[in-house]
């Protein structure tokens, strides 16, 4: 008896592993990022990506790293079946705490814009991370013990932490410097270098993403987090300590937001609890969702989240390059649209297979009108000036959109009708 050569099975399994790697959904996001870059390069009449790629690349890298750090936390919470609306406020609060600690430890140096001692900076950073842990623990307690839904618990801190941060900053500046201030300026160039260097946030993001990936995909805890998100009751009945896992998830999210808070105050040279990080939580959730995390829980990957962040920041930079002045007016609209498109089409693909109708009934009619109006308004705002004028352009675009949606509605109706008139398998058996 002879045995098969040992190299054949390993070649086949290597080929299978490579095929699995190449078929991962994240490649779609890589393609999307590349498409955005190419499109921006073409549509930007100054071709800044071509003639001056370095500045844009650095800008995107910086923004991706900063957003990415706390998006990892958002993703972990979402995968575990929860939601964290407080990231932006945790950033603001943590940044304020970091600055406040520096003021308390070195009031004269902070006021006179002198360099701080490394001990002061380190203590402030460590203290801020501890505060992050405390906030995460608070979230976990509110959710697992008090029994609040995660949405409510983190909504409370979204509102409360900014207010608390502001009170702390105003009172500490009044008590320490004799004059109440709504913000604390950061002058120490070494502290600021943590953020302004670009490479430090980038390396930090890569390291944290690597650790998060290891946790989620290579550890038992990671599998338990997925299980928790997939079906909490089943996970609990299987003996998984779901409350502890939630504590872990929310602590990770809050600590990562605290790290981002430290970087942001360095980047902006000021800790301003009222405005710092406003709305950032939505960008983090959007990045996680675009990257494949399901808000129902149990589904999501760290590579997907990383690419989701990169995709969002690339789109935002592309919008700024193409629309140029006043781009931030449209940034929210375009990011929101991209998120809806990216997630909804995935669900379309899943739902369409089950014959779901999206434009049926009175709500379908209202939706068709809604989307047509939106298309018309967008055409009037964004499209180039033509001989038609914005009003006519809006009407034409809206009208065409409405027509398309009516046709789609008709097609859906026919498909459903065909499905109803087609013989059921049981009918075929009876006739046989």
């Amino acid at each position: 008896m002879t045995s098969a050569p040992p190299s054949v099975p390993s070649r086949a399994s290597a080929y299978a592993s490579l095929r699995r790697a190449l078929l991962r959904p994240e490649w779609g996001l890589v393609l999307a990022v590349a498409a955005v870059v190419v499109l921006t390069g073409l549509l930007d009449d100054r071709h800044n990506y071509w003639y001056n790629p370095g500045d844009s690349a650095i800008n995107v890298l910086r923004q991706t790293s900063m957003l990415g750090i706390f998006s990892l936390g958002a993703a972990i919470v979402i995968i575990s079946g929860g939601i964290d609306l407080s990231s932006g406020s945790v950033i603001a609060f943590s940044g304020s705490i970091c600055a406040t600690l520096m003021v308390l430890m070195a009031p004269e140096e902070m006021k006179a814009a002198r360099l701080l001692g490394l001990g002061t900076i380190s203590t402030a950073i460590v203290g801020t991370l501890v505060v992050g842990l405390l906030i995460g623990s608070l979230h976990a307690w509110l959710i697992t013990v008090v029994g609040l839904p995660p949405f409510v618990a983190t909504l409370a801190t979204l509102v409360g932490l900014r207010s608390l941060g502001r009170a702390i900053v105003e009172n500490v500046t009044a008590a320490t410097w004799g004059g109440r201030s709504t913000q604390i300026q950061i002058y120490d160039s070494r502290f600021r270098y943590l953020a302004t260097s670009v490479w430090i946030p980038a390396v930090l993001f890569v390291v944290l993403a690597g650790l998060a990936w290891l946790l989620l995909s290579r550890t038992v805890i990671g599998r338990h987090l997925h299980a928790l998100g997939g079906n909490e009751q089943a996970a609990r009945l299987s003996g998984i300590q779901t409350d502890r896992l939630k504590w872990l998830a929310y602590c990770i999210s809050a600590v990562l937001s605290s790290i981002a808070g430290i970087l942001y105050i360095g980047d902006q040279s000021a800790a301003h609890p009222q405005t710092l990080g406003q709305g950032y939580e939505l960008n983090a959730i959007a990045a996680a969702v675009v990257g494949g995390c399901s808000l129902r829980g149990g589904v999501g990957t760290i590579p997907g989240t990383v690419l989701g962040v990169l995709f969002l920041r690339t789109v935002i930079d592309g919008v700024a390059k193409v629309i140029k002045t006043g781009a931030d007016v449209y940034e929210g609209l375009i990011v929101g649209s991209v998120v809806v498109v990216a997630v909804a089409f995935t669900q379309f693909r899943q739902a369409g297979g089950r014959g779901k109708r999206f434009l049926s009934g009175p709500l379908g009619i209202a939706t068709a009108i809604n989307l047509s109006l939106l298309a018309g308004v967008l055409a009037a705002l964004l499209a180039p000036k033509t001989f038609l004028g914005e009003g006519m352009l809006a009407l034409i675009t809206g009208g065409v959109t409405l027509l398309v949606l009516i046709v789609l509605r008709w097609i859906e109706g026919r498909r459903t009708g065909n499905a109803r008139t087609a013989p059921l398998p049981s009918d075929k058996l009876r006739s046989a």
């Binding site: 999307a32 709504t182 040279s269 002045t325 375009i334």
Partner: protein, 369 residues
Amino acid sequence: MRTFSMRAKLIVSALLGLAALTGCGTSTNRTTNSGQASTGERRIIIMTNGNSPFWDACRVGLQEAEKNLGLNKAGFRAILEVNDGTPQGQIDKLRQFASQSDIVALGISPCDAANLAVAELMRDLKKRGVHVVTIDSDMDRETLRDTRFAFIGTDNLAGGRELGKCAKNLRPEGGEYVTFVGRTGAQNAIDRVEGVRQGAGDKFKALDNMADETDLTRARENVRNAIRNHPKLNTLVGIWSYNAPAIADVVKEMNNRKQFTIVTFDAEPLAIRQMGEGLIDAMVVQNPYQMGYQGVRLLKALVEKDQGIVKEMFPNLGKTDGDIYDTGIKVVVPDEGSALKPEMFDKKTEFLKLSDFQRWLKKYDLTGS
């Protein structure tokens, strides 16, 4: 293969759709700028600190300068970039400007006079050959003067003093006052508040300096809180443009107009109407139209190296405060019944009754200043 290619196709299709909407790079945002720079055009940008009708007058000045100075023919486009009221908004925009090659000049009204991040980015733009000036509010003149070529705007300290004089002459017996402002860290705010203190004199006591971060709802809430918390309060001082209507609205709502002397900065359209209704005693009005006009004029001259215009605007350049172009201030009072007289103010200050001021606005096709 099906999973990722389907998602990729759909995402790319959506992007192409969005790209089609943006009209192949010639989109126009009418609400914030006068047009879109097409290939070859260079942009001169004035960036605001926040969003308020004050900047509408600046936009009119900017557009007039664009037309009168032949900017389009010379290959320029002047654009007003509206910030969201936060330093981080300005930081993000400055970084974007650095990565766009067609921006040749920038006039900025910094949210915070001492913000190092903004200062560094302004210096970076200067190093890249972009001409930078400050408009309406300056960077800290002690430590960050090098971040810009010059300042165009109001002498805010002088303006604050005139406002303080308004309070002093309307209430010779003195009293207690609260100042209301967007951001206490903005240089124009710092200067005006100090100016009010100087102009009002020793008989007036400052109780508080309340910031609202350009949140109009909070601006009103601050006024309500100030009135509730300080029983002896008798003078309300608005420092930024939208604080005037906020104060007037609250006083009308609480029906205690007679209890307060109200003196404010700037003349938003609503504030002008409110003065007509007797809700505001005096306004110190800047000239944002000239800030926009002269800002564009100077920036174009810097780009074209037109030393004639630079010397005309800054005859004392190189000397102390020779880099400041004062766009002047007006004191506006109600047509009837005001105790204020021109001789109470500085000779350089223009004194106007409300109806004369409204005629001046009409001459420039403005609704506010």
